[in-house]
């Protein structure tokens, strides 16, 4: 909606300001891409240059054997993908129970979930780590994924959506003898595709990008995800800038492409949470 009229001069001024802001926002991305395409010897030069004099894909080739990059990549896919899938299933189970079923203790349980939503992860990270340690789940996919298998936020979000679905369909199905499981899987879920997609995008991105959780659950290099693996690689070998930047570009690529092709889901998914990762 156009809220205010503005004259030509103001428009041009505003446009210029927005162009400058955009350059600043994009600069780190452009810099990482350019650096990753330089030969290592050209990265540290004086005067420094943004654009490579000679483009080479050397860094993109060496990264795979310089560090266990493929392993990081697969770990991140398993972790983010697995958590997204299990969270969608379990969140929608609980959301359905809270939205549609009547049972004793409903309010108490809902309050319990509300409490878990308010407690920041940092408050429980030490006891959770010690628990995983006792279970011998450090450096395992189970340790990475099971504590994240459901999310209070997802339950809230889906419950809200489910409550907006008209009941008439379910009532009719029920009269025809359908059971609760049938209604959940054949009516509620298919009607909730947009909400599920938004939630999937949110969960996947949040876990793909997450740092502190994989940092404490994994200690061996082979179990690292991309953010932890690359950050700790930087701490150890700061010299190989081009390789590190190639890793950064590759690590950011999947989420960036997904964002550019499904912006609506991203913006909605993130704005709805009110929680930043």
């Amino acid at each position: 909606m156009v809220v205010q009229d503005s004259n030509r001069v103001e428009r041009i001024a505003l446009f210029t300001v927005l162009v400058i802001v955009s350059i600043f926002m994009l600069f780190p991305f452009v810099w990482m891409l350019c650096t990753s395409l330089k030969p290592e010897a050209d990265v540290v030069t004086w005067p420094p240059r943004l654009f490579p004099r000679r483009i080479t894909f050397e860094a993109y080739k060496t990264i795979w054997h310089q560090i266990p990059f493929l392993r990081f990549f697969l770990n991140t896919i398993v972790f983010a993908g697995g958590v997204t899938l299990s969270s969608l299933i379990f969140d929608s189970f609980s959301a359905y129970a809270f939205a549609r079923l009547d049972f004793p203790g409903k309010n108490a349980l809902f309050t319990l979930i509300l409490i878990t939503l308010m407690v920041p992860f940092h408050v429980v990270m030490i006891p959770v780590f010690s628990l995983l340690h006792k279970l011998d789940w450090i450096n395992t996919y189970a340790g990475l994924m099971i504590p994240r298998a459901s999310s209070a936020f997802g339950i809230f979000f889906l419950r809200q959506f489910f409550r907006g679905i008209p009941r008439e369909l379910e009532d009719a199905a029920f009269v025809d003898g359908a059971n609760v499981w049938w209604i959940y899987s054949k009516i509620i879920l298919p009607l909730s595709k947009p909400a599920l997609a938004t939630l999937a995008v949110f969960h996947f991105m949040f876990n793909w990008n997450d740092f502190l959780w994989p940092l404490i659950v994994t200690t061996s290099v082979n179990m690292r995800t991309l953010p932890t693996g690359l950050a700790l690689f930087m701490g150890k070998h700061v010299v190989e800038y081009a390789i590190l930047m190639a890793g950064v570009v590759l690590a950011l690529l999947p989420v960036t492409i997904a964002y550019l092709s499904a912006q609506q889901h991203f913006v909605r998914g993130i704005a709805l949470t009110g929680l930043k990762g």
């Binding site: 909606m1 156009v2 809220v3 205010q4 428009r11 505003l14 927005l18 802001v21 600043f24 926002m25 780190p28 810099w31 650096t35 540290v44 420094p48 943004l50 379990f90 189970f93 609980s94 129970a97 079923l101 009547d102 409903k106 349980l109 979930i113 878990t116 407690v119 920041p120 940092h122 408050v123 429980v124 030490i126 006891p127 780590f129 628990l131 504590p147 459901s150 209070a152 609760v180 959940y184 793909w208 990008n209 997450d210 740092f211 502190l212 404490i216 690359l230 950050a231 950064v248 690590a251 950011l252 989420v255 960036t256 964002y259 550019l260 991203f266 993130i270 704005a271 009110g274 929680l275």
Partner: protein, 299 residues
């Protein structure tokens, strides 16, 4: 009297639903109880013990809390967290509001600008912090070089005690401005157009409209953005861990850094948990304040 209150009582679907509800809830509840509720209780209990990696925990009364009160490094972390919050929240909120208002005009390229400004939000904070670490390095990053061209010398900010926090604040604002902007844009869409039309009939100029219509109408949105930003600022970790590890001279060590330090470096778990309890109290107080200010129904 409740005679007028008609509540359509739904016929419960069937009695066996009640048990099946627990089946539906079981996986989520199991995860929450084992990995959130129980750890909260354990955490609270452990703050009254000397729990660490080596010894079995012994009751020590309020010793951890007394230590907290006298711990200069803890108060330094509290101070740094507040400095960070004061650095990030007002500037970040104002910038995102201005950008939202700018993008709410009918300007060419609005969609492009919105996409670009939101782009850092979807990037991993830890990964993008690697890039910023290099950008702030005068040897490789170009900022120092560009600034030196216009006569400003920029040192290695991340290694300067007085500048490191500023660098981290800049990165955080850059990272999150798009997030808040999107929330403000949603708020702007909700302002009735008729208000502006009426104001125009009364001869108000655009600045007056912004001051007397846009700002007051956006009040709930602004409160939301400010509280959310404060909450997330108190939990900042990733970019600090990657860029400075809390240094130089502990000048960027924040609360979560300090919890991490005790939980995973010195392994004084019970003391780390005590610092975490402090964070929990602050976060809960802010959350309750937000619910009050916002008057948002929980439903």
């Amino acid at each position: 009297m409740f005679i007028g209150k008609i509540r359509r009582k739904r016929q419960p679907i069937a009695r066996y639903n009640q048990q099946i509800a627990y089946l539906f809830l079981f996986p989520s509840l199991a995860v929450f109880i084992v990995f959130i509720i129980y750890p909260i209780g354990f955490s609270l209990w452990s703050t009254f013990t000397n729990w660490n990696l080596i010894q079995s925990a012994k009751y020590v009364g309020w010793a951890n809390y007394i230590r907290l009160c006298n711990d200069e490094r803890f108060w330094n972390a509290v101070y740094n967290t507040i400095v960070y919050t004061i650095g990030v929240v007002p500037v970040g909120t104002a910038l995102s509001l201005l950008l939202a208002v700018a993008l709410n005009q009918n300007i060419k390229g609005t969609k492009f600008f919105r996409t670009v400004i939101f782009l850092p939000v979807v990037a991993s904070t830890a990964i993008i912090a690697i890039v910023w670490t290099f950008l702030f390095d005068p040897q490789i990053g170009l900022f120092g070089y560009y600034l030196s061209k216009i006569g400003i010398t920029m040192g290695a900010w991340l290694r300067e005690p007085d500048r490191a926090m500023l660098a981290i604040i800049i990165v955080s604002i850059w990272k999150n401005v798009g997030f808040n902007m999107v929330i403000f844009l949603a708020g702007l869409q909700g302002i009735p157009y008729s208000l502006y039309e009426a104001a125009r009939v009364d001869g108000a100029n655009r600045l007056q409209m912004f001051r007397y219509i846009t700002l007051p109408q956006l009040r709930p949105t602004t409160v939301f953005v400010v509280v959310m930003s404060v909450l997330s600022s108190f939990q900042v970790f990733d970019q600090i861990y990657v860029m400075t590890r809390g240094g130089p001279l502990y000048r960027t060590e924040t609360l979560v850094q300090y919890i991490y330090h005790h939980g995973f470096t010195t392994f004084q778990m019970s003391y780390g948990a005590t610092v975490a309890m402090f964070l929990l109290v602050v976060i809960l107080a802010l959350t309750i304040l937000q619910l009050r200010l916002f008057d948002r129904p929980v439903d």
